[in-house]
């Protein structure tokens, strides 16, 4: 549609209960905003066409049409519009559906004026940073820094691009080594927050007692050892993105605090009395099935629905077809340059082997294998004899079956093994019994999670070599 006028700074508020309309409008006007109110979809459509409002507050339930239909019409006319959905408690699933369809954020009734103003402020900031859409430009096949053009990855790229213009929380799942943090960084870099900070925090690598302080910060003297004020990850990510990796490892008490943070956009550092408002987009990731964690009581259901707005599943390497070869070619060239060795590519036998391997450690395992080859050998081709022996003896997999091979088993016979081998067997067995949870295995073994992570990393390097 063509417009004579420029987009307006006016907030368009669409709410069918007159009292609520008046309450929200009063709070916004008191904060200095110009507000136009509507009670029906028909009125809203007329006002939207007249005003071209860039920030819209939209109730989910309207008397003449659904909020979803109204939002779709608005976005079809003006794709840059930031629409914040207002919903009653109990309609979270519908709100999530709206987020997936392009809403910027959602507010659950009841919310106070501070939350309303924070949402509007976020929307206005987002509008300012948005780059106008250029529909004529075709999207490239690959989204840097990813490598690979498989159908599975195209779906990931599409989701990252479509979620970039939203404030929606992204929930990344996938096996270890599939690139979940890379995905989080890509979401950040393609968003309007790209100039802001990207703060990553591994919830599983930090002891439970310290995690609250790591996320929300603390004041000097708030607990033994708090020798100075500390800015938490949430405050450090103000204006940018906070990536919470291994979210399912988060303690239940802290999950409650995270939920409150998501609802109010405020943080209260440990030892502080006054909350502080922050503007942060949350991205989280896990290598577990989050819904299963909810069923087991390890993860709060309300937090799950708050976070699981836009799910992105990182596919395992074994279902990415020719991506394994493309990644290997590019990584070998890059590593060869870094190491000062000459490698022109992969021997055809290595290509066939790579295509047939199950890659339980996914891209991370592939990179470790290649690093080892490039460091210890000189080209011109990567040949089978350069590969670690255990890689060649790994069970082959039917391509695209999407199932990880069984890993490890019980303790077995310890006789004749070194202490280091026994330690590894014990740790791997414990991890297996805890479904791969490092923090839980660490608790059982009475060591810190970071010790296990360090050992896993060392073993991965050892295996690759």
């Amino acid at each position: 549609m063509k417009h004579e006028s420029l987009p307006s700074d006016t907030i368009l508020l669409i709410e069918d209960t007159p009292s609520l309309q008046m309450i929200y409008a009063s709070a916004l006007k008191r904060a200095g905003y110009t507000v136009v109110t509507c009670g029906t979809a028909a009125e809203a459509m007329a006002e939207f066409q007249r005003l071209r409002a860039q920030v819209v507050l939209l109730d989910l339930m309207l008397p003449d049409r659904t909020g979803l239909e109204v939002m779709q019409d608005f976005l079809a006319m003006e794709p840059q519009t930031c629409i914040t959905v207002i919903t009653a408690n109990g309609s979270i699933n519908k709100a999530v559906e709206m987020m997936r369809a392009g809403a910027h954020e959602f507010l659950v009734k009841p919310f106070d004026d501070q939350r309303l103003l924070a949402a509007v402020d976020n929307a206005r900031r987002s509008v300012r940073h948005r780059v106008p859409v250029k529909p004529e430009a075709a999207e490239p096949m690959v989204l840097p820094p990813f490598i690979g053009r498989s159908r599975a990855m195209q779906s990931v790229y599409d989701k990252i691009r479509s979620v970039a213009r939203s404030m929606a929380t992204v929930f990344i799942t996938g096996e270890s080594g599939t690139g979940k943090e890379l995905c989080a960084e890509a979401v950040h870099k393609t968003s309007s927050r790209a100039r802001g900070p990207f703060i990553a925090l591994n919830c599983g690598a930090i002891p439970v007692d310290l995690l609250e302080s790591e996320v929300f910060g603390h004041l000097r003297g708030s607990f033994t050892g708090a020798i100075s004020d500390k800015i938490g990850a949430a405050a450090a990510a103000d204006g940018g993105t906070l990536f919470l990796d291994e979210i399912c490892e988060m303690d239940l008490n802290l999950q409650t605090k995270l939920l409150r943070f998501l609802q109010t956009s405020t943080i209260t550092p440990v030892g502080a009395t006054k909350p502080r408002k922050v503007n942060v987009r949350i991205i989280c990731a896990t290598n577990r099935n989050p819904l299963e964690e909810v069923r087991c009581g390890n993860f709060r259901e309300d937090l799950y629905y708050r976070l699981h707005v836009v799910p992105i599943h990182m596919p395992p390497l074994r279902v990415r077809g020719e991506d394994v070869i493309e990644i290997a070619d590019k990584m070998v060239a890059k590593m060869a340059e870094e190491e000062g060795h000459v490698f022109l590519g992969l021997d055809p036998r290595v290509r066939d082997l790579f295509r047939s391997l199950p890659w339980p450690g996914n891209v991370r395992q592939l990179i470790n294998v290649l690093r080892n080859v490039v460091v210890l050998n000189d080209g011109p081709l990567v040949t089978p004899d350069m590969l670690p022996p255990d890689l060649q003896s790994e069970p082959r997999t039917e391509r695209l079956n999407g199932t990880a091979p069984p890993t490890g088993s019980g303790l077995g016979d310890l006789a004749g093994r070194t202490l280091a081998q026994i330690e590894r067997m014990v740790i791997e067995d414990t991890l297996q019994r805890h479904g791969g949870s490092v923090p839980r295995a660490a608790r059982e073994l009475d060591v810190s999670a970071s010790t296990i992570y360090r050992k896993l990393e060392a073993w991965a390097k050892l295996d690759a070599g």
């Binding site: 009292s19 709070a27 009653a88 408690n89």
Partner: protein, 127 residues
């Protein structure tokens, strides 16, 4: 706003399970004129919803219960919001007689909220 003029009967608020700070906070969003206007609008809305509940038509009762839930939780009337939520989820699935039983406590709570809002309206009009 002079809170004492409006909320001088704290036992009534307790019985209603209304969070005084929420309602008084909302009335402080604007000037005196806005307070009177908002109070009158709340009275109009609650009266409209009460009449719809009295109609006993399941689809309309469910819709109004949803609206009642959102408005009541916003003004701090949490018990009414909770009752309305139950009514919203069940209104279209129960018999007419069961619906009237479920509607009764909601109606009583709406009347109590209306009574409180009328007190507020009088207090705001005092010179």
């Amino acid at each position: 706003m002079n809170k004492n003029l409006v909320f001088d009967d704290s036992s009534a608020l307790f019985a209603l399970n209304i969070d005084e700070s929420v309602l008084s906070g909302i009335f402080e969003f604007g000037d005196e004129e806005m307070r009177i206007e908002l109070c009158n609008q709340l009275l109009d809305d609650y009266r409209r919803m009460a009449a719809a509940l009295d109609g006993g038509e399941p689809v309309i009762v469910a819709k109004v219960a949803h609206e009642l839930k959102g408005l009541s939780s916003t003004i701090g009337a949490q018990r009414l919001a909770d009752l309305a939520e139950t009514l919203h989820t069940t209104a279209e699935r129960v018999s007419p007689s069961a619906l009237s039983v479920l509607t009764l406590p909601v109606r009583q709570e709406v009347d109590a909220v209306l009574s409180l809002l009328e007190t507020c309206a009088k207090a705001f009009r005092r010179p």
